[in-house]
C-alpha cells in the first residue's frame, strides 16, 4: 500500500540563522527511515512519466522501488546504469522542472521527492559500500575531452566504460568545472564532486589539469599530432557578462564568476589559511535573478556581509533561479529588490564602490523569451549602499577554442553549432555539448549532452 501523504517527507536542514554563517551543507539529507517512507509515495506508474523528464533517463520508478524495499545499494546501482554523477544530480538538478514535474503524485499534492531520494541513494552508497571498480578492457582508440565539467566528465565516463582510452584536458588546476568553481560548498560539498571524479579515474579516465586547449595545444594538434581519434568539446560558458554601466570598474565590483571562484575554488573563505584573498563589505548588492545570483548572495552573507540584496529587473515570478534556492536565500536573510535595475555604481573619490543607483521597473508585454518585458519607471531612481557589487547577469562561451579552430562553426552568440542532438560539429571527428553549445544552462542538460555525444562518438569510431 503506497504512502498517500500529499507532502514530501521533509528533509532536515541547518537552521537558516546558523547556516548563513558557515559553509557547511544546508541540507542533511534523508535518513534510511525517511527515504523508505518517501519512496513508498511512488505509485510505480506503468508509463513512467518522470523518466521522460530526465535528460539522462534515470530509471526512476525502479530505483525508488528498491529504496522502498530497503535495497539501497541496488538502488544506487540502478541510477548508475544511466547517470555518471548521482550525488551531484540529486543535489543540483532542477527536479521541479524535470522528473518531478511529470510525477503523477504532483497533480494533487507534492510530487515524489525524486531528487532527495537520488541523493540519499548516492550518499548511502558512498558511505557504506567500498566498491571495486573494474577497468574495462580497452579497445585501443583514444578520445580527447576538452573541459572537465559536467558534460565532459559524463562523456568521459561513458566512453571509458565502452573501452576507450579517454584523456580529459582541464584549464584549471582541479577537475569539476562549474561544480568546483561555481556551485558553493554549502549546496554541493566539494569532496562529493571529487569522489565522483575519482570513480572516473578508477575507470581509467586520465585527467590532465593545467592544460588550456587553444593555447598549449589546439584541437587540430590533439587530433593530428597527439593521436586522438575523436574529441568532445565541453568548455562551458565561462565568460562573464557585464552590464556596461558607469562604475563597473570600481574596486569592489566583481563578476559572479570571480567572486564565486575566489570562494569556492580558491577557498578564500578560509583566508589566510589559504592565500587567495577576497575583498568584502558590510553592504552587498548582487545583480541578477538566476541560481548564480542566489549562490553569490548566500556566499556573501556567509562571508560576513550584514546586508545582502538581490537586485533583479523583472518580478520574482520571472526569476530563472530554482524556487528552492530563492526560498533558501530568503530564509537566510537575503533582501529581494525585484523590478529594479541598476543604472550606475557610485564610487568614493579614491575609486571604491559605495552605492548602486537603481531605477524601478514595470512589466509590459511579453518579449521573445515569453517573459514580460521590463521598462524603467521615469524618475524612480534610488540608491542602495554597497561596498561590494556582484554582477550575475549571465555568461557566454569562452572564445579560446573557436578562435584557434578555424573549421569549427559557431553562431553569433559564440556558441558552437551542433548539427544534431548528439552534438556533432562542423569539424570531422569533433563533438560538443553543454553550455559551450547551448549557452549558460544547467548541469543536468550538460550531462545529457555529454551522454548523447559519447554514444555518437562510439558509433563513429566503430564505423571508422
Amino acid at each position: 500500500m503506497p504512502n498517500m501523504s500529499q507532502q514530501k517527507v521533509p528533509m532536515p536542514e541547518q537552521d537558516p540563522n546558523v547556516r548563513n554563517k558557515n559553509f557547511e551543507e544546508v541540507s542533511y539529507g534523508y535518513t534510511e527511515e525517511m527515504a523508505v517512507e518517501e519512496a513508498q509515495r511512488c505509485l510505480n506508474c506503468k508509463n513512467k512519466p518522470c523518466m521522460g523528464g530526465c535528460p539522462v533517463n534515470v530509471k526512476i520508478p525502479e530505483f525508488i522501488a528498491l529504496i522502498a524495499e530497503g535495497k539501497f545499494e541496488e538502488a544506487y546501482l540502478k541510477i548508475s546504469e544511466t547517470s555518471t554523477l548521482p550525488a551531484v544530480c540529486g543535489r543540483v538538478c532542477p527536479q521541479e522542472s524535470q522528473c518531478e514535474k511529470y510525477c503523477v503524485r504532483g497533480i494533487k499534492g507534492e510530487p515524489v521527492a525524486i531528487g532527495r531520494l537520488e541523493r540519499f541513494a548516492a550518499d548511502w552508497y558512498m558511505k557504506n559500500v567500498k566498491a571495486e571498480i573494474k577497468k574495462p578492457e580497452q579497445n585501443g582508440k583514444k578520445v580527447a575531452i576538452i573541459g572537465a565539467g559536467p558534460s565532459g566528465l559524463t562523456c568521459a565516463g561513458d566512453l571509458a566504460k565502452l573501452g576507450y582510452e579517454v584523456s580529459v584536458f582541464e584549464a584549471f588546476h582541479t577537475a569539476g568545472g562549474v561544480l568546483m568553481y561555481g556551485i558553493p560548498e554549502f549546496r554541493l560539498p566539494k569532496n562529493i564532486v571529487q569522489t565522483e571524479i575519482n570513480k572516473l579515474k578508477e575507470l581509467g579516465v586520465e585527467i590532465h589539469t593545467d592544460m588550456v586547449i587553444g593555447k598549449v595545444l589546439s584541437v587540430d594538434e590533439l587530433l593530428n599530432e597527439e593521436g586522438f581519434d575523436a574529441a568532445f568539446i565541453g568548455t562551458g560558458a565561462g565568460l562573464p557578462s557585464f552590464m556596461n554601466i558607469e562604475g563597473e570598474s570600481l574596486n569592489g565590483v566583481y563578476s559572479a564568476n570571480e567572486f564565486l571562484t575566489r570562494i569556492n575554488l580558491m577557498k578564500s573563505y578560509r583566508f589566510p589559511e589559504y592565500d587567495t584573498p577576497i575583498y568584502m563589505g558590510k553592504n552587498v548588492v548582487v545583480v541578477g535573478g538566476g541560481n548564480v545570483a542566489m549562490d553569490a548572495a548566500r556566499s556573501a552573507k556567509r562571508m560576513g556581509a550584514e546586508n545582502v540584496s538581490i537586485v533583479y529587473r523583472r518580478s520574482e515570478e520571472e526569476m530563472p533561479a530554482r524556487r528552492e534556492e530563492i526560498h533558501h536565500a530568503k530564509e537566510e536573510g537575503i533582501d529581494f529588490k525585484v523590478l529594479c535595475n541598476p543604472v550606475r555604481i557610485i564610487g568614493t573619490e579614491d575609486g571604491w564602490a559605495e552605492k548602486v543607483e537603481c531605477v524601478r521597473m514595470e512589466l509590459g508585454e511579453p518579449d521573445e523569451s515569453g517573459r514580460r518585458r521590463p521598462s524603467a519607471v521615469e524618475g524612480s531612481e534610488f540608491t542602495v549602499d554597497a561596498e561590494v557589487v556582484i554582477i550575475a547577469i549571465g555568461q557566454s562561451p569562452n572564445p579560446l577554442i573557436r578562435n584557434t579552430t578555424p573549421d569549427l562553426e559557431t553562431n553569433k552568440r559564440g556558441c558552437i553549432v551542433a548539427k544534431n542532438e548528439a552534438g556533432e560539429t562542423s569539424k570531422e571527428g569533433v563533438w560538443a555539448g553543454g553550455d559551450a553549445v547551448t549557452g549558460a544552462a544547467t548541469v543536468i542538460l550538460a550531462m545529457g549532452a555529454g551522454k548523447s555525444a559519447a554514444q555518437a562518438i562510439d558509433e563513429y569510431l566503430k564505423s571508422k
Partner: protein, 281 residues
C-alpha cells in the same frame, strides 16, 4: 608538478626560476604569461614569461618579492616543485613591419621587456633598449639585454651607475637627438608606463604597454583583470596583456591594482608569523 631546474638570485629582492614545462615552452612567445600556484593553499598568480627554451623544454620567470606568493616562491629552491604552471596565456606581442624600436623596461619590467628585445633583434630590427632602476645595486640582466639590442641605456634614479635620470629622460633625449622610432614598447610599473605614453603621445609614436593586473584563471573567466582601453572594457588575460598605451586608462588601472592590497599585507604578515613560529619551534 613542475620542477624548478634553476634558481638564481638577481638582486636582493628579485629572483629567477627556470621551470620544466615542455608543452608551454614549445608554444611560448614574447608577451605571453603563465599562471602558477605553489601548493594546495596557494593563490593563482600570473607572471610574464621572461624566457623560454624550446629544446630544453623550460620556461623562465623572473619575480620580485612583493607579496605573499613571491615571498613563498623565493623560499623554493632548485629541485623543488610548483604544483601548477599553466600557459602560455594571453596574446603574443605583434610587431609586424617595424624597423626601429625603443624597448623600455622599468625595474622588474626589464625582465619582461628582454624577450621582446631579443625577438625583435633576432628579426633584424634595430632595437634601442632603455632600462631604469632606482639604483645600481638592483640592476638585473644587464648583459643579457646588451646582447639583445643595438644600444643599451641603463638609467638609475639616483645616478649611482653614472647615468642619472628616468627612462623617459633618455627616451626624450634620443628622440630629440633625431632617432625615428616607429614603435615604443614600455614594460614596468604602471606609473612608468603612463609617463612613457604621455611622452610618446606628444611625438606621435605608437606605444605598446604590457598590463599585469590581478586575475585568477587567465582564460577570460573571472573578469578581474579588466582594463579600460579606448573607453572599452577589455580583459588583460585574453585581449592582452599588450595594449595600445595611448588608449589605456592608467589611473583606473592604478586604482584597481590596490583592490587587495590590505588583504595581501595580512597574508604576508600571517605567513611571516607562521615561518617564525616554525623557526622557534
Amino acid at each position: 608538478m613542475y620542477k624548478i631546474l634553476r634558481k638564481e638570485r638577481l638582486n636582493d629582492s628579485v629572483s629567477l626560476i627556470e621551470v620544466e614545462a615542455p608543452y608551454i615552452a614549445k608554444k611560448a612567445e614574447p608577451g605571453q604569461f603563465i599562471i602558477l600556484r605553489i601548493d594546495e593553499e596557494g593563490e593563482r598568480v600570473p607572471f610574464t614569461i621572461a624566457d623560454y627554451d624550446r629544446e630544453k623544454g623550460t620556461v623562465t620567470v623572473i619575480f620580485q618579492i612583493v607579496g605573499m606568493t613571491t615571498e613563498r616562491m623565493n623560499e623554493l629552491n632548485e629541485g623543488d616543485y610548483l604544483l601548477d604552471f599553466v600557459g602560455p596565456l594571453g596574446k603574443a606581442s605583434e610587431f609586424e613591419g617595424v624597423k626601429n624600436v625603443a624597448v623600455i623596461g622599468g625595474g622588474l619590467g626589464t625582465a619582461i621587456a628582454y624577450p621582446q628585445a631579443k625577438k625583435l633583434n633576432s628579426m633584424g630590427v634595430r632595437v634601442d633598449m632603455i632600462n631604469g632602476f632606482r639604483n645600481k645595486d638592483i640592476i638585473i640582466i644587464e648583459e643579457e639585454c646588451r646582447a639583445a639590442c643595438t644600444n643599451l641605456y641603463t638609467m638609475t634614479d639616483d645616478g649611482s651607475n653614472g647615468n642619472k635620470g628616468f627612462v623617459t629622460t633618455k627616451l626624450e633625449e634620443l628622440i630629440e637627438g633625431g632617432e625615428k622610432y616607429d614603435l615604443v614598447i614600455a614594460i614596468g610599473p604602471l606609473v612608468m608606463m603612463k609617463a612613457v605614453c604621455e611622452l610618446t603621445k606628444k611625438y606621435g609614436i605608437k606605444t605598446i604597454v604590457s598590463m599585469n593586473p590581478v586575475m585568477i584563471d587567465g582564460t577570460g573567466m573571472c573578469g578581474g583583470c579588466r582594463v579600460t582601453v579606448g573607453g572599452e572594457t577589455k580583459f588583460a588575460c585574453v585581449d592582452g596583456p599588450d595594449f595600445d598605451g595611448h588608449l589605456v586608462d592608467f589611473d583606473l588601472a592604478i586604482r584597481r591594482s590596490k583592490m587587495f592590497a590590505e588583504k595581501e599585507r595580512t597574508a604576508r604578515e600571517n605567513h611571516k608569523c607562521r615561518m617564525e613560529g616554525m623557526n622557534n619551534a
